[in-house]
Subunit: 423 residues, 2 copies
């Protein structure tokens, strides 16, 4: 069974918003064993929407549409679907009840426009939207299945998780998608491919290996469809792991902040951060993980040098002598933040994110990262590029990676000691 | 002239990455007067790529493809385009020179795989990739134009900005896209649409008004194609502004952090932040703006209550009596951070991001926000939902909005005083 996702909305085509919905849907559907063949964004235009539905059904069994179902005039999906499936709008009391329930909860007043959300196509199954006013429309005609849902991320996610995916699983046989991910760092994509040449040459044709570089990391994905490939997958992932040797960071495609959380938890360690050029992004990434408060204490974002001396206690003389972007300053930042916030580990970053502020000795993209674990510190200098967003993201990744490696090394050493003890 | 963007890559179809490239391309192309009719992601599959190119040319004049041009085996775009345009690969010395130059700069060693990037289709114009090893391929056959470029964001952006957009502008007549944006807050989408019913009823048919809700804000976009509509646009945007009254935040679609920077700069004010549940995201958003160091001093991310008392100097008794998520604590956070970091303004947030940590009195999504400007403070309580990411993003937006309003009110008052003085 193949799926095409069709996000509807001019705001995506003019680049006003990034389509994060489709990535979430694709990840969930793949995890549940469904294959996505295309993701096609079209504008709020009836003719283009109808044509795209035809195209989609030429390569997919199921079409999932998001967006264009709000109460305002620019939202034309519902009307267009009525035309496409040759049906009319009728008033649905249960949808109105759902809207009334939601509005009562939020203390909103119902107006005519919102009430119009209760008009729904006659020839389709109506699924209540638990998180918003636009109902989910499930059209099934002959062997064609099309589901229309809201584009508001929270409403879409609720509908997909609670209603649409369970119904798709009931209706179709899903084929398991086998996927195994490795995270590597410290190598270019082409050098990695050369290193894996022999591995790829012997890989069975129904297996694929993909390289996904992102801000200093490469994610490798080994995949195949169908549970009958499980034994071969086990064999191949063992081979791949051996071929990766010391560049392997983790056997996972989890974000670095999740890996850090796992590493800290299993070693019963806490961490704090002192950020300059990353401006709070490391703290932000760490705290996107729920339960981070168990191991994360806080951050001092010392964007201004005066804050580095006053709040972080960095020696003014060190800044004057070496500059704020230097080994001396970043090491003091790491030492002091862990002392002040009483944590076992710490991360400190100081650099020049750009586009301004570079000098011939310290061009834009110069970044010092120091990570500390108990009495040990590791300090490294990086030279990134000219893009501010890129420098912030790369610095964040390299800093998270550096502390993960320290903590995991500790773990390996501990395991070794325990083995020695028990032997 | 119409454009279809085709990102190629299994990693998008399985939801492993979010396609941020297309949003950037769409925004740039729209700004330059080009219309995007569809954005279609297909996998690394030759047959699907070829079929999609046919579909794209049935509705667009130009196809822009990204991705699938790396040196590894999973990248098949170049080979597929050779088949589609019926041409062969030939070795190109200038591409090799470009690769050598790049690798020398980065101190990388050239290997066979990277060298293979210099094999290019014979019947196409080769554009050097200044930022990476895969060349940009410009195919032009009869009235069909297809450009293939790398999917690595920095490489794609460099190629688009320096080469592809300038060449498209030379080759095609662009029609100016007229767009005017308003940012509003404090109203539901349907209530706003009701408020704008009369405005929409009189809006000429070639104008469109779109509603884009996002984390507590609604962006309104009034648009039309063609410079002949400029006078009408002037007239309509004046009318729309009047209809929006006090819910209007800004006449702009700039991010809140950019608006905050402008407001602070024009009032010569500095700001600091004290964050709990937002975990550094406000600091991160503020520092994504280049030049933020002019007005932003830093943040104390007091994720742990002990950090609130030790580093921020919040009274332990206030936390014990009212809890960390309370008016008393958030007001002390705002007062103390501006004193410690010596800033005119400050933002403090304390809340329960979830999914755990809620109580019947303070359920998940309870957030207190305090903003301070000189001797004035504003404190507000919000009740958001159950999603952690949503709560972090909404809190961040509402906090930025609250301080922007304070600073801009100051500006209005100052302007008034100046008028009084000069009159």
């Amino acid at each position: 069974m193949k799926i095409e996702i069709i996000p509807v909305g001019d705001e995506i085509l003019i680049g006003q918003i990034i389509d994060t919905n489709s990535a979430w849907m694709a990840a969930e559907l793949t995890r549940q064993g469904f294959e996505i063949v295309a993701i096609t964004t079209v504008g709020d235009d009836a003719e283009n929407i109808r044509r795209q539905i035809d195209i989609a059904f030429s390569r997919a069994d199921v079409v999932l549409m998001t967006g264009g179902v709000g109460p305002t005039k620019d939202d034309i999906t519902k009307k267009t679907l009525c035309d496409y499936f040759d049906t009319d709008l009728v008033f649905d009391e249960t949808v109105l009840e759902n809207i009334n329930r939601l509005f009562a909860h939020k203390n909103y007043k119902l107006n005519e426009l919102t009430r119009s959300q209760a008009f729904v196509p006659k020839d389709c199954t109506i699924i209540q939207n638990k998180a918003g006013t636009a109902p989910i429309l499930w059209f099934e005609q002959k062997d064609k299945l099309l589901v229309s849902m809201p584009g508001v991320p929270f409403e879409m996610k609720t509908a997909m998780a609670d209603e649409i995916i369970p119904r798709l699983k009931k209706r179709f046989q899903s084929v398991d998608y086998l996927k195994y991910s490795f995270l590597v760092s410290g190598i270019t994509e082409s050098a990695l491919a050369t290193q894996l040449e022999d591995f790829e040459a012997q890989l069975p044709g129904n297996f694929s290996l993909a390289y996904l570089p992102s801000y200093g990391l490469i994610r490798l994905r080994l995949s195949a469809w169908g549970n009958e490939n499980l034994p071969e997958m086990e064999f191949q992932k063992g081979k791949l792991k051996k071929a990766l040797t010391e560049i392997l960071v983790a056997e996972s495609d989890a974000p670095l902040e999740t890996l850090l959380g796992e590493a800290l938890r299993s070693n019963n360690l806490t961490v704090s951060t002192a950020e300059s050029c990353t401006g709070g992004n490391i703290a932000h990434r760490i705290t996107m993980v729920s339960g981070a408060s168990e191991y994360y204490k806080g951050s001092i974002v010392s964007y201004d040098n005066a804050v580095k001396t006053s709040l972080l206690g960095v020696d003014k003389s060190a800044i004057d002598t070496h500059g704020a972007v230097s080994r001396e300053v970043v090491e003091q930042m790491a030492q002091n933040v862990s002392k002040k916030l009483k944590t076992d580990c710490s991360i400190a970053v100081s650099g020049i994110a750009g586009p301004d502020g570079g000098t011939p000795e310290k061009p834009v993209g110069t970044v010092w990262i120091c990570t500390k674990m108990q009495n040990e510190i590791v300090t490294q200098k990086y030279q990134f590029g000219n893009s501010r967003a890129e420098n912030i993201n790369r610095s964040t990744n390299m800093a998270l990676l550096q502390i993960i490696r320290m903590v995991n090394k500790e773990q390996r050493t501990k395991n070794k000691e325990q083995r020695v003890k028990t032997e």
